[in-house]
């Protein structure tokens, strides 16, 4: 069976033919080992002869550029195309050019097609506002906890490796698994409500994920729980890169722990802290999977885009264009944050 699958005879024949071509092409090479190496690597040498050494790197980059172009740049241009056209189709031939109408549909008070109230504007603003609240609260909270955890786990504590693994473990979980686990705890008949009822802290079970008073809190909590380990690890690496002699010198001078933290640890960790902040800001703006799977009671910017794009249910005539325009606005925010990260990284290298 395996022989038929691999077809060993054919492979052997092809390999012999391959070596034979290599042997012929490397006729100017002398010595057994160099000739053998040239015979094996003849396609590279042949390509180099054909295109010259300067073009060779581009040739190697070509497959990657092709894939990157197809799956990153092409959708980017298509998205721009969708944002300035209307129609249910994803085929540009069937879509009508509409200019900046979709921008008007998500930003103006009056609906440009009906002349009535524009609810799309309200939905987009609500998604922007809620995402802003989520980002503004989630990022500092997560960084503070990640920093605190990293500092604790950088100390000589019992079972340090184990604790590091425990805090990093949620990062390895799929967002859907994270959502499933927390839904079991946070649903109305879940563990949290039942426990609090048993303790007489609450009289009625609470739907923690949907209750308007609690949905943002638990969104931030679960998202922080799921992602904190990654940033903790980066900060831990940053802490370990601080020269030990600085701490030893401070110890010899009798400097207090608090002063050591404010005067040595934090300043030297600041470049990494800044990069971590920008990275987590970008990630928080893009928050979707966990929130979607948790079915939280608010709509994030990315959820708004998914909702409008017609990925679920019947497509609407303006939906895809509105989603594309909204995604361009999100992209603008992310570009600004990415440029900030780029600037900070360069500054860090210079330092």
């Amino acid at each position: 069976m395996f022989e038929s699958l691999l077809n060993l005879n054919s492979w052997f024949l092809f390999f012999t033919l391959y070596l034979l071509i290599g042997f012929i092409l490397s006729k100017d090479v002398y010595g057994f080992l160099p000739k053998l190496m040239s015979s094996i690597g003849w396609p590279i040498e042949f390509t180099q002869k054909l295109f010259g050494t300067k073009s060779l790197p581009y040739l190697f980059l070509f497959p990657n550029i092709l894939i990157f172009g197809l799956f990153t740049f092409l959708p980017l241009f298509m998205n721009f195309g969708f944002s300035v056209t209307d129609g249910t189709s994803i085929n540009f031939v069937s879509r009508d050019f509409s200019g900046l109408d979709n921008l008007a549909r998500i930003t103006q008070e009056v609906q440009i097609d009906t002349g009535g109230i524009n609810v799309e504007n309200d939905k987009f603003n609500a998604a922007m506002y809620d995402t802003f609240v989520f980002v503004i609260l989630q990022v500092p909270i997560m960084i503070l906890i990640a920093l605190f955890t990293a500092i604790v786990l950088n100390r000589e504590i019992i079972g340090r490796g184990f604790w590091r693994a425990v805090f990093f473990y949620p990062v390895m979980l799929s967002p859907v698994v994270v959502a499933f686990l927390w839904t079991l705890i946070l649903k109305r008949q879940g563990m949290l409500s039942q426990t609090l009822i048993d303790w007489n802290w609450i009289s009625e079970p609470i739907q923690w994920l949907m209750d308007p008073s609690w949905t943002m809190f638990w969104s931030i909590f679960v998202y922080t729980w799921a992602h904190m380990g990654f940033y903790m690890l980066i900060l831990l690496a940053g802490l370990q890169s601080i020269p030990r002699d600085l701490y030893e010198a401070a110890q010899m001078d009798g400097t207090s722990e608090r002063r050591v933290f404010w005067r040595i640890t934090l300043p030297l960790l600041m470049p990494i802290l800044l990069v971590v902040t920008v990275l987590s800001l970008i990630k928080a703006v893009q928050a979707f999977e966990e929130l979607y799977a948790l079915q939280v009671g608010w709509v994030s910017l990315v959820s708004y885009i998914v909702e409008n794009a017609g990925i679920r249910g019947q497509k609407t005539f303006f939906g895809l264009g509105i989603a594309a325009m909204a995604s361009l606005i999100v992209a603008s925010i992310l570009i600004i944050l990415s440029l900030l990260q780029f600037y900070l990284t360069r500054r860090q290298v210079k330092l």
């Binding site: 009906t114 739907q207 009671g297 303006f318």
Partner: protein, 416 residues
Amino acid sequence: MKKSILLASFLAVSSLSVNAAEIKFVCYQDSNECDVLQQMSSIWEDSTGNSVNFEVVGYDVVRDQLENQLEAGSAPDVARVTNLGGLNQYYLDLTPYVDSAAWEKNYGATLPWYRKPSGDNGIYGWQTQLTVTGPYVNVTMFEDAGVDMPEEGATWDDWADALRVVKSELGLTAGLAMDRTAHRWAGPAFSYGAKFHENGVPILVDQGFRDFAETFVGWHAEGLMPAEGWPAGAGTAYKNAAPLFLDGTVAMHMSGSWMLNNYDTNITDFEWKVVPIPCGTGGCGAMPGGSGIVAFNSSKHPEVAASFIDFMSQAGKAGYFAANTRNITAHQGLQKAGIDYPGVSQRVSAGLSTFAANAGKAAESTPQAYWFQGYNKNFAIYGIVPDYITKAITGEMSLDDALTAIDADVAAKIAE
């Protein structure tokens, strides 16, 4: 002579193999529909030499991905769909391949659901089954609570009163659950007097719609309806409330005839039954609907696809399908003659009769239900209503603002 026979046989076999085609059928099933269709298709395969490649998928695939496949040109030849009018532009018109008069006679009532809004007489799909919305009731809970079930003709308010008592007597989380879609919501809204359209133009928010919206929000506020139902979904997302009925969270589930087989198979620890659709000042509203099998105009084998659908839609096969999937047939001849459902339990048999009666009541007292089912942008409305009503339930918006937003959003979504 022998040589001639051999040659003739060879030519016959070759011509069969040249003409034989394989069609791809994307089929979703609520229960066993695709399995039954597969059994039936083998007869067609044997008689024509063609074959059907069944791809059984989840409902989400048909609902969310099929249209993209159609646009991208990677559509199957045939599919089982529920968005009957919404995908019209992709349908293959079967008229040139079938006996139009027979189709009009047998399926005349449902053929318009597949057509363009006006001036279209094409034949596009075989309505495999009629579905009707209606409530399932946990009989055991009513008995345990010592509550008499409201009789036929009772209003939604009567049922709400009865469910409140069941809920309080048994300490239930809630009394009534409804799938999160305007498809289920529409029936009760019709009963409260909602018209949904005026001369074919959707006008959702009238007094009847407002009355039911107020009642519905109130049912959530008092806990008669569970927080795990409508409030547990964000945006236009659909949410099936069946798990809440299955696990005993509620005593009533506003669902539809498609759940009969599922409940018959999966509910083993309590008695349940289908009850007549509750009524109101506007009539006894239930939403008709169902799924159908269509062929797409991108098919490379239109004749074969049409032949397959035509074969399956004939009385004998349609009857077999309805009987073995415990569904209400859309074949008008079979509706008159009646379907014999072999081996079905008493409750399924009674349920089918009740649902069929619900469809009849809706046709008489709330004809707008049939308009809404045939409206080609109804799927957009199915999502818009829960989006805003949920906000009114959770207190994010006042009910007045939510109703104003529903009107505005529907107007914007259907403006082209």
